[in-house]
Symmetry: C2
Subunit: 144 residues, 2 copies
């Protein structure tokens, strides 16, 4: 169950790393109410706007690679045998280079991300993604 959702989550990063616009488009629910928050940015609403932002970002990144840590997966509703929503949080350790113009384009940066996936037939698709930069100081919690 959550394994299928994790496959979608992994495919998302594959799409960004390889600049695969078609793969990225296949991973999102096509709906005017989906949303995406890039680090430091205001929310984008609707799959058309979300995919446009990723297309621009991927066109402007020469090289980008994500190393995911602290990945946590929860299925909702809690304690339901037939969950309809999966929430995945993770830390994105990002290595990038090339022409940096996109909102998520920076070298050796760290972001945290909350992704919301919904069931789509046998698989899962993105409904929402919220990524934010991690300040080096002032965290309420440390990774120890």
């Amino acid at each position: 169950m959550t394994e299928a959702a994790l496959a979608t989550h992994r495919a998302f990063y594959d799409a960004v790393e390889t600049g695969d616009v078609d793969l990225m488009a296949s991973l999102w629910v096509d709906d005017p109410e989906t949303s995406c928050v890039h680090p430091g940015a205001v929310p984008l609403r609707g799959t058309q706007a979300v995919l446009r932002s990723w297309t621009v970002l991927m066109a402007n990144v020469g090289y980008i690679q994500f190393f995911l840590t602290e990945r946590e997966v929860t299925a909702l509703p809690p304690n339901d045998d037939d969950p309809s929503v999966v929430v995945i949080t993770c830390t994105e350790n990002i290595l990038s280079g090339g022409e940096a113009t996109g909102a998520e384009t920076f070298s050796g940066a760290k972001a945290v991300c909350t992704s919301i996936l919904v069931r789509d037939g046998a698989g899962w698709k993105f409904w929402s993604r919220h990524a934010s930069p991690v300040a080096e100081i002032g965290n309420l919690d440390s990774e120890g």
Copy 2:
């Protein structure tokens, strides 16, 4: 349906503004898998850690008020008559003063927030909250 979720969402800000720790505790699902990302911070996991962070923040803020704009509510699964999850995104225009030591304590700041609420009997409770600072430049979208 979504009105009840919005009542919980409003009560969350009431709790922060009035420093009502008990109200805040009543608004979250008590589960080790809930999560909360304060602006610039790494995720806190589990209701105990989440509530501790809010208690510390509220104890250290002299005055804080939230003016919410661009609030958008979606129920999941999409097009389901009996949704089990509600996602609320909004922009928090924050006015604060006093002893500023908490992660969400700053004067005249702006953040964007994605909240995930799940059904709890007749009402709704917080499962996840992800807030992030908004950079004044570099947004992929503008509010016009």
